[in-house]
Symmetry: C2
């Protein structure tokens, strides 16, 4: 085991500024001292290439840790509740409804706390253990709060999670139940995030999306790895990804490229990357539409609270990835979000939270506009479960009756019952 740990750790080289390229040692830091640019983990891809194979990955655990050689933490420290390796299901009925060809849904509702945030929290808390932190903390729109609280409980770490006070009740309960500290902030996510940046300077805590952010963010790459593995080590032609901070979109793109770099793909990937936002919080889509490089912060107002980041940290990089890959960006109304939730549930049996509704509605918009085309193999990232935003959809029983056949036939005409 010790040998495996050392070998795995050796793949991580250090941290590098995404703006100016300056390099740093591995440590819980996240900003370049010179230009204040964000830091990113670098790997020795030649060493990874020598260590990994399709067979070795297939023999690994059914979680993100099957890709440990491409993650910035050794597997010996893994805080593993089973995040990742979620189903990729072919969605022919959804494709038909949208006039598209081959559509797949990556169903990330099936993570330990029912959102893709378990991927990043699992990596971040594992790294926090490795760094010797005793407390995990985060700013969250809800899903990350759930995940950090659950993974901290599992690891025996203390936790402090900071959320906007207007969150859905489900996201509060599913955070507080794990026994850590939940602090509700009178403000929106951007206010919460600002406070957390200050607190990260005050307390020696592992703030997963502040001082541990470079490691945390790497967890999202696993969505690309799994997609390719589940497609038989091929890549899709087009992916549609919800945009909050923008980090998920850029990391999914990076993940496909890395797979080729370490020899797991036969061909260089050529994946068009499109982004999905809610109209009530669409700073990246707005910059896209206006042809601008500047992401102007907005004040969020949408039912898609998990995407409600008005000042997205990686917005520029997401925009850049969309441009480079010739994807697109859509911004959809709250009404379209609800319709998107219903369409996915009705056609494929998958119940997504509002963010998923944004993604489905954006796919519809991009298909209508001809940005996504019927000849493409499309993958849709559904990142959170509908049970977390239950109040967004109205769904009542068809009928409420006494327990008799007569009562049933009063409610459903027996002559037409097989048409119901």
């Amino acid at each position: 085991m010790a040998r495996v740990q050392r070998r795995n750790m050796a793949h991580v080289q250090g941290l590098r500024c995404r703006e100016c390229g300056r390099e740093y040692e591995i440590a819980p830091v996240y900003t370049c001292e010179w230009c204040f640019g964000p830091l990113e983990v670098t790997y020795d891809y030649a060493a990874v290439a020598a260590a990994v194979s399709r067979e070795q990955i297939a023999a690994g655990p059914a979680s993100i840790w099957r890709y440990a050689d491409l993650l910035p933490v050794d597997r010996g420290h893994a805080v593993d509740l089973g995040a990742g390796f979620t189903p990729l299901v072919r969605a022919d009925r959804l494709a038909a409804a949208l006039g598209l060809g081959e559509v797949w849904v990556k169903n990330d509702t099936l993570n330990p706390t029912n959102s893709f945030k378990d991927r990043v929290a699992s990596v971040a808390l594992s790294k926090a253990l490795e760094f010797g932190f005793k407390t995990a903390a985060c700013a969250s729109t809800g899903n990350l709060a759930n995940s950090v609280a659950a993974h901290a409980a599992r690891a025996g770490l203390r936790s402090f999670v900071f959320i906007p006070s207007n969150l859905e009740r489900a996201k509060v309960v599913t955070t507080a139940v794990y026994g850590g500290n939940v602090v509700a902030i009178e403000g929106n996510y951007d206010d919460v995030n600002r406070l957390c940046a200050e607190l990260a300077g005050t307390y020696r805590w592992a703030f997963v999306n502040v001082n541990v952010r470079p490691f945390y963010a790497e967890g999202s790459k696993t969505l690309a790895y799994e997609t390719a593995e589940q497609l038989g080590w091929e890549t899709p032609d087009h992916v549609v990804v919800p945009v909050a901070s923008g980090s998920l979109l850029t990391k999914i793109r990076k993940g496909f490229d890395e797979l080729h770099q370490v020899g797991l793909l036969d061909h260089a990937p050529n994946v068009r990357v499109s982004g999905a936002q809610a109209l009530g919080c669409s700073p990246v889509a707005t910059a896209w539409r206006e042809g601008s490089d500047t992401i102007r912060p907005v004040k969020p107002d949408t039912i898609a609270k998990s995407l409600a980041i008005g000042n997205p940290a990686d917005g520029y990089f997401a925009l850049d990835a969309v441009r480079q890959t010739e994807g697109g960006l859509a911004a959809v109304s709250d009404g379209e979000v609800v319709e998107g939730i219903r369409l996915l549930a009705r056609t494929e049996g998958i119940f997504a939270e509002t963010a998923g509704g944004v993604t489905v509605a954006s796919l519809k918009r991009l298909a209508d506009e001809g940005v996504v085309t019927p000849d493409e193999r499309v993958v849709l990232y559904i990142t959170g479960l509908g049970l977390k935003t239950l109040d967004a959809v109205e769904a009542e029983p068809t009928a409420t009756i006494r327990p008799t056949i007569d009562a049933f036939h009063e409610a459903f005409d027996p002559d037409h019952i097989d048409e119901e």
Copy 2:
């Protein structure tokens, strides 16, 4: 593919009455014409043994369909949303809290609709397609309703699901959102079930827990298969299973035995099987305590609605399995149920619905009574997600504050913050 389908179908021999042993052809029937006993699927285990291997299973899909050779439907018809192959996580912190040794949690909250019912619904709806049914139906305490509605949507089948009208709102929304018919019945589950038995005689529908029940129930065996595979093809010493109809408990036991019968285990399994019930609906535990063979129906009154079957169809068989394996049965109060939910969340980061609280609290009770012992390898089956029964637990933010460090320090004394 056609060849595989034929080969797989050949493993199913027919149906046999569990009371009198009379045999029947494969058909959508569930009761013996002679003695009214329940029918069960029979297999050609020699043919299964020749077809399966640990390697072949490991190379299969990450769902219950990796065990297709041991299921009563050919994989070509599989309605597969990704049910099964859920994490089995070692629960050292829970074990320590209960004074036990090696405890594992089978986390079946991570199924497509977040309960183990996806295992049975996936098999039942696949068989319904094979039989040529156009409509899927069920009586449900909620979880099966979710699952049948979702799998029917995925398969493009019509659906009629019947639920008690007092169900948790989450379970109603997560059924209705898939677009089928949801009929709320003014009565308890036993009333719903009686009506469905009548309707099954009237309409040519695949009633998953009536006329398709023998096939449906086989889905539960996969919990035993996965447990053994995930323990490196070994069996636990003791399992604790929630009891509603009793079918889950008996099928888990059957699953372990079958694995040995087809050569996948090196040794004959010796698994003690214990059952968990809520005090407000504990007919099987009552018969156990009284040393009786008769399960007296009760009128359920408990927050654990998914276990609230007062007249359990397989109660006798569950009782028999517990006796034969020298397990035990516990009945726990609603207060203990809530404590059980909190204990599992706090120690392992897993948020279970009330049924899971019943199971954890029952394990605690059985450990206190010395029925489950510290030298045993124990597996706990957690069958549904806490988001479905959110109102059962109170969980509020620790504090609600303005977005400033001063406000944070008003709520959390900086001198004691690292003790929070």
